[in-house]
Amino acid sequence: MAARTISFTLNGEAVSAEVANHHTILEVLRNEFALYGARESCGQGLCGCCTVIVNGTAVSGCLYLAAFADGAEVTTVEHLDADGRLDPVQEAFIEQGAFQCGFCTPGFILMTKQLLERHPDPDDDQIKHYLSGNLCRCAAYPEIIKAVKSAAKKRAVAR
């Protein structure tokens, strides 16, 4: 199996890893860096459980080949409370009870962050559009929509 060394920035830190051509970024995060917040569920990039941020854009980690992350900036959900404080999106998800089993939650949170960075005051249609690629089998959708709105307010106040 062809292998190569990739170097990238992971949650603000310069790292490198030995990867095979077929390895996804998700596998590398889990196997090399013990980061489990992104996780494979459907394996087809349809559910959003494996969401990670590469160069500022949310991608499906189960489809994104690790080799492409060479030189990139990669962020996972574990980075959001790096300073010891939860991100306003995380706080809002807790306050609104916007999850049950929690398996899909990191993906929703990362996608919500991307939504709010691009649309700080989103309406229902924008929220649904952004989050239509994330699925929640516990179906906490009504609470998630409330959490997104609440997070938008928290961010506006913080600014």
Partner: protein, 767 residues
């Protein structure tokens, strides 16, 4: 002062608090523990080679090429499994399922061989090199066909012996009927003779999947005389018992550890991959992890498809005087818990109505498809779909208002339900009234004028909680006064850890956040029957309450012993210090709960105590039907449930809303398509589940104000309740909108448009 007589006493500061889940921070930061994330040193990954045919004798399996593939540790078949587990059949109701297929395969997707490798990709590649030859046998897929088919899925029935009412099936041959439950009340034929009108309809439900986002995953770490299994399971105690039985080990040599679950919904009950990883670990002498892909989940366990023939005799006043229910459950190739679904749901197959003459025949049938088990309702959603669609059809035929018709026939307080058990604390009338009032029933409703028609409908339902079942809990108050709770209820998202901590907090008068709930580990957490059927809050809640009350009494005794004045609020930590001279000691309390129960009489199914509590639900729906395309939009979905006193109102609301949205998927579009036994849409790309766009514009969730007097602090479970009524409420609303009646789920645009065209006498051709 009703609250003073309920177990647990008056309700204080912790019960009724909308506390966020204890593990909330871990879940939003991606750090919550799931078996999915777990790795052990030296661990191998297993990938499964599965049957490609629905029914056949295994002539040969060729693993030689696979064994030569790079990185492969070993390839194993049933022959190998028998070396470590001589009689490798498992299952909760029947010991019918082989760890790997033996001699025969009985459904497409059945595990036949496993490749082990350190690298899962190497194992996956090697699986492609395995070949098997089969002598193909005729197969049976449909539950009605299976009833009289000459194709037998099993040569002989093998009940597990766990359940007394299955013993009579031992050794039965030439049948696909794994259980026939009968309920006989009054004389149904005489009832039909007396009836002014008789109505008969047949309803069907489709095969659907739990689709928990954490796919099935187990890790076996087996030594010669001790086994540890890490698994995403809803029933660690059952897994321990079953693995101990298979290995001939005492229970204390088998340890089952269960962190949080990424969803369960009934799929992870009883035993799934646990026996397989144990056998493989024994063979490989290494820890073995099997993690299914989402596609493979379609070959593990599903919901039961069902055919329900229902016949009702109604007198001149519109009273239902006789009802006959014949229910056929498509259980797939292995029984799993199907026979329990068949029996337990059979108790209420005639619905929440007061009917003098009831006849229920409920059959569990083997077929050559993926096995079926429990899915959030234990069969009740399938039954309610049928009887509440039927109820509306009868009301319409009688030209009676559907609400009035239900009100006339509803089980009133204290009346005997079909089994003969009086319905107590089952506020059916109140729930019907609440749903009707929220729908503004009786007031004019805009039905639409163009091609888009509007309609509304409702449904009500009752379920008897599974009985009798046992829960045990242990509470340990540590030297600084902080409590540790050991309980086997699995938190799969329903918030049980939080609710149990609230019960401890209530009894000990401490904040629920200060209670540590130990993750399930059968070496330390005591017995629990399983996290299923909305039973945990009631059963485990009582066990936890009793354990906490014992601790409280011991703390009080210690206070007395140390000469502290009565009513003193001296902290527990100071009591310990005074007693032991330093921060030391423990106070341990335990609680066991098993409710009273009278088993139903064989042959009649009658009993005066079928269950410790009833679950009651109602739903209302408003829909828009585009009569030119068949597309249905649910614009408003109302759910009203009785869960007694909500321990955590926010989590209760999330359960009601989440349960009904899941059922909305089963109602509107979810369906496993099966062609020649092969699932043709086994992926999330082809099997659509509800997304954020599918949420109705208006959702109303209500837990009616009530208490369950025999529940802990007046509470009872709610995990399933809001799944019951969604389907028929929507079908009834579609009928109200455009006058078509769909009798088979799902209610997708094609089904609705076909029904509209048939009604217009221009039917579409069959596929």
């Amino acid at each position: 002062m009703a609250t003073t007589t309920i177990p647990g006493g008056t309700i204080g500061s912790q019960i009724g608090r909308s506390l966020p889940r204890l593990e909330a921070r871990d879940k939003v930061s991606g750090r919550a523990e799931y078996t999915h994330n777990l790795r052990l040193p030296g661990m191998l990954h297993g990938k499964i080679f599965r049957s490609t045919i629905a029914h056949g004798r295994i002539k040969s399996i060729d693993t030689s090429a696979a064994k030569k593939m790079p990185g492969v540790f070993g390839v194993y078949t049933a022959e190998d499994v028998r070396k470590v587990i001589p009689n490798p059949y498992y299952g909760p109701a029947f010991h019918d399922q082989p760890i790997l297929a033996m001699d025969k395969v009985r459904f497409v997707g059945e595990p036949v061989a496993v490749v082990l490798a350190a690298d899962p990709h190497a194992a996956e590649a090697a699986v492609q090199e395995i070949t098997a030859e089969y002598e193909e046998l005729p197969a049976v897929y449909d539950e009605i066909e299976a009833l009289n088919s000459k194709v037998y899925v099993h040569d002989e029935l093998k009940p597990a012996g766990t359940f007394a009412d299955l013993k009579h099936l031992t050794g039965r041959k030439q049948t696909n009927v794994a259980l026939d439950f009968k309920l006989r009340r009054g004389d149904v034929e005489k009832g039909f003779e007396k009836a002014a009108q008789v109505f008969e309809h047949t309803f069907r439900t489709q095969k659907v999947l739990h689709l928990a986002f954490e796919p099935f995953v187990s890790i076996g770490d087996a030594k010669r005389d001790a086994v540890t299994i890490y698994t995403s399971s809803q029933g660690p105690s059952f897994v321990r018992t079953e693995i101990a039985r298979l290995l001939g080990l005492p229970e204390n040599r088998v340890r089952i550890r269960v962190p949080y679950l990424g969803g369960g919904y009934g799929s992870k009950l009883y035993i799934k991959l646990e026996a397989l990883v144990t056998a493989l670990s024994l063979l490989a002498r290494r820890p073995v992890k099997i993690s299914l892909t989402m596609e493979e989940c379609f070959y593990q366990i599903t919901k039961h498809p069902c055919t329900f023939r229902i016949k009702s005799g109604v007198d001149k006043e519109g009273r239902i005087i006789a009802r006959k229910c014949e229910v056929f459950w498509n259980g797939g190739a292995y029984a799993d818990v199907g026979p329990r679904v068949t029996q337990k749901s059979g108790f209420t197959a005639s619905g929440p109505y007061d009917i003098e003459n009831v006849h229920v025949d409920s059959y569990a049938l083997y077929t050559n498809v993926t096995p079926a088990g429990a899915l959030r309702g234990f069969g009740i959603p399938q039954l309610v779909w049928s009887y509440e669609s039927h109820t509306d059809m009868v009301a319409r035929a009688l030209k009676m208002d559907p609400v009035e018709f239900r009100r006339k026939n509803i089980l009133k307080k204290g009346a005997a339900q079909a089994t003969g058990t009086p319905v107590k604390h089952a506020p059916l009338e109140a729930i019907l009234d609440r749903v009707a009032s929220r729908l503004n029933w009786g007031k004019p409703f805009d039905k639409g004028t163009g091609p888009v028609k509007r309609g509304r409908g409702l449904a009500i339902a009752i379920k008897a909680v599974i009985a009798p079942t046992t829960s045990v809990a242990v509470l340990n108050v540590t030297a600084d006064g902080s409590p540790i709770l050991y309980c086997g209820t699995v938190d799969m998202g329903q918030g049980s850890d939080t609710a149990m901590a609230q019960i401890v907090g209530e009894v000990l008068n401490v904040p629920a956040e200060s209670v540590r709930v130990v993750p399930r580990d059968t070496d330390v957490t005591p017995y629990d029957m399983g996290t299923l059927g909305s039973r945990s809050l009631f059963h485990m809640g009582h066990a936890v309450r009793i354990a906490a009350e014992e601790c409280r009494a011991k703390i009080e005794a210690l206070r007395k012993e140390l000469g502290e004045p009565e009513g003193s609020n001296i902290p527990v930590a100071d009591l310990f210090k005074k007693k032991y001279g330093m921060q030391a000691g423990n106070i341990v309390g335990s609680g066991t709960y098993k409710p009273d129960y009278i088993p139903p009489q064989p042959g009649t199914g009658l009993t005066t105590n079928v269950a410790p509590f009833w679950m009651v639900a109602g739903a209302g729906a408003e829909v828009e039907v585009d009569t030119e395309t068949g597309k249905v939009i649910v614009t408003r979905l109302i759910n009203v449930v009785d869960c007694g006193k909500p321990v955590n109102p926010k989590i209760v609301e999330t359960q009601i809303s989440g349960a009904t949205l899941m059922q909305l998927g089963f109602t509107m579009f979810e369906k496993m398509h099966i062609d020649g036994g092969q699932v043709t849409n086994a992926s999330l790309a082809d099997y659509k589940i509800p997304g954020i766009m599918d949420v109705p514009a208006v959702m109303e969730n209500e837990a009616i104000d009530t208490v369950q007097p025999n529940g802990p602090f007046g509470a009872k479970g709610v995990g399933e309740t809001a799944t019951f009524c969604c389907g028929p409420a929507i079908a009834n609303a579609i009928d109200d909108a455009c006058g078509v009646r769909i009798t088979e789920l799902p209610l997708n645009a094609e089904a609705v448009y076909r029904a509209i065209r048939a009604q217009q006498k221009t039917p579409l051709e069959d596929e």
